[in-house]
């Protein structure tokens, strides 16, 4: 079932208006990120903040994007729908947005880390990769 709302001129105007609706949660969140980044640098401890765990309106998103800025790294993982991983303009602060196969949000996180785990190759996947590679090599003609 496809429940996506078609993008029309009217909805883009509505989106523009909605982008100014705020809950007031952006400011305390930015302070939390500031503390987490300090902790990462001083103690090496990573922090993950679940954006789905608090009321967050489009206006808050706008403030967050404006203050954190746009960074240098942008990665898309295509498993079970897309996951968009991007480093913000504040190095060490990453946005991780998981979408389902219909392009709808599954979950949204801010990770304060030097490298998000989900970007790394997982040990089990590498093991499976090695197994698959060996099989492929054996099928090669000499």
């Amino acid at each position: 079932m496809d429940c996506k709302i078609p993008q029309t001129h009217t909805s883009s105007v509505a989106d523009e208006i909605l982008s100014y609706v705020e809950t007031g949660n952006a400011s305390p969140l930015l302070h939390e990120i500031q503390h987490a980044l300090t902790t990462l640098l001083e103690q090496g401890r990573e922090t993950t903040i679940d954006l789905g765990a608090m009321p967050f309106a489009p206006g808050d998103e706008r403030i967050l994007d404006e203050v954190l800025g746009e960074g240098e790294v942008y990665a898309t993982i295509t498993i079970m729908g897309e996951s968009k991983i991007r480093e913000t303009g504040t190095p060490g602060v990453w946005r991780i947005d998981h979408f389902d196969e219909n392009g709808e949000y599954q979950s949204r996180f801010i990770e304060i880390t030097f490298m998000p785990d989900i970007l790394k190759t997982q040990h089990e996947d590498a093991e499976q990769g090695l197994k698959d590679l060996r099989e492929r090599i054996t099928t090669l003609k000499p």
Binding site: V21, G81, Q128
Partner: protein
């Protein structure tokens, strides 16, 4: 039938990577309102969870709960969790019928006695057990018999959790909740009319990974029912600023203001609707412009009217009608006066009355 493959093995069989599993566990942890730091523990627990047997009993219900869960567009790993569960009896979904179906239930009960999960949707009539029977067995007897060997019971939907529409006034069948009959088993209530599909999956995943979740005073998992819809509602800032829609077509409605005055039960209703939403996270009733009905709360059908603000005492309409009767109106004209009284009162108090309220009174 139940067998032993673990989720990890099934993932390999289906070609699902560890990275995909990490994504799923991160989203599931968020859904369960757990700290993101617990995601690795959720992954580890799910990977090692044994495959449980599930018996699903449907009593006085509309099949809405089953419809919701089966028509949800589940991510692949959620599908796998359902595959990981051995659904040994579900009379709506199973191919077998009659004695063959009942034999499947009896076999599962015997084979997994003390270990299976019992899921129930629908209320149980106790006024006369003959009101609702399956294969000649009353709902009451089937529940008692099946609950005896269950490790835990999940009451899915408001009917099983609190009696629901069957229990609404005047409750002609004497409908009650599972918890009013079974007293010696852990019961997890997953209310909603119907519950959000991913909440049902989440409760199952929580059971598989951490066992019985922490429950609130109404038997609901705190992870999904810990906050009121009001606290998580994107329209909450309008409530705080005192900006309310007072009709479904006024300026406030068009501007997306708070629906409190239109009868929204969000402030007294605990559910994840405002964060998890429906139809793959597309929307939820308030976002669609309709007040919350409070369907995850006991007796929400009898809560004084869906379109009456919470600040208006329940039963106000009935009081107005009784006053009209007491005033000397003939019995035949009483209902018309009741409707008129309601309309006049609404106009004076600027209270919203919809067609259904008036129909009930006329």
């Amino acid at each position: 039938m139940a067998n032993t493959p673990m989720l990890a093995e099934m993932m390999k069989t289906h070609g699902i990577s560890r990275r995909a599993f990490m994504k799923y566990c991160a989203s599931l942890t968020s859904l369960m309102a757990l700290s993101p730091a617990l995601a690795p523990r959720v992954a580890e627990a799910l990977e090692n969870a044994p495959r449980p047997s599930v018996i699903w009993l449907s009593f006085q219900e509309c099949t809405g709960c089953t419809e919701a869960i089966t028509r949800s567009h589940a991510p692949t790993i959620e599908d796998l969790i359902f595959n990981a569960v051995s659904l040994d009896y579900h009379h709506t979904l199973q191919a077998a019928s009659g004695h063959a179906a009942e034999e499947a239930r009896e076999h599962a009960m015997k084979q997994h006695y003390g270990k299976y999960i019992l899921i129930v949707d629908g209320s149980i009539p106790i006024k006369d057990p003959g009101y609702s029977c399956i294969a000649g067995i009353s709902n009451l007897d089937m529940l008692k018999e099946t609950a005896a060997g269950a490790a835990a019971i999940v009451s899915v939907g408001t009917c099983a959790a609190y009696g629901g529409v069957g229990h609404a006034d005047p409750n002609p069948t004497g409908a009650v909740a599972v918890s009013e009959i079974i007293k010696d088993k852990p019961i997890i209530n997953v209310p909603g009319c119907p519950p959000i599909p991913v909440v049902m999956t989440g409760v199952l995943a929580h059971f598989l990974s951490f066992g019985i979740p922490e429950l609130d005073e109404l038997g609901r998992p705190k992870a999904f029912y810990g906050n009121s819809i009001h606290d998580r509602c994107y329209r909450r800032p309008f409530y705080d600023k005192g900006q309310f829609a007072e009709g479904f077509d006024d300026e406030g409605a068009r501007e997306g203001w708070c629906l409190y005055k239109l009868g929204c039960k969000g402030p007294t209703t605990k559910s994840a609707c405002a964060t998890v939403k429906w139809n793959n996270g597309v929307s939820f009733p308030i976002e669609a412009g309709h007040p919350c009905l409070g369907c995850t709360e006991p007796d929400f059908w009898d809560n004084g009217g869906f379109y009456k603000p919470l600040s208006v005492p329940a039963g106000d309409y009935r009081d107005a009608g009784l006053a009209a009767v007491a005033g000397g109106a003939a019995l035949g004209a009483a209902s018309a006066l009741l409707a008129k009284a309601g309309k006049t009162k609404a106009a004076q108090a600027h209270e919203t009355v919809d067609a259904h309220d008036l129909e009930k009174s006329s």
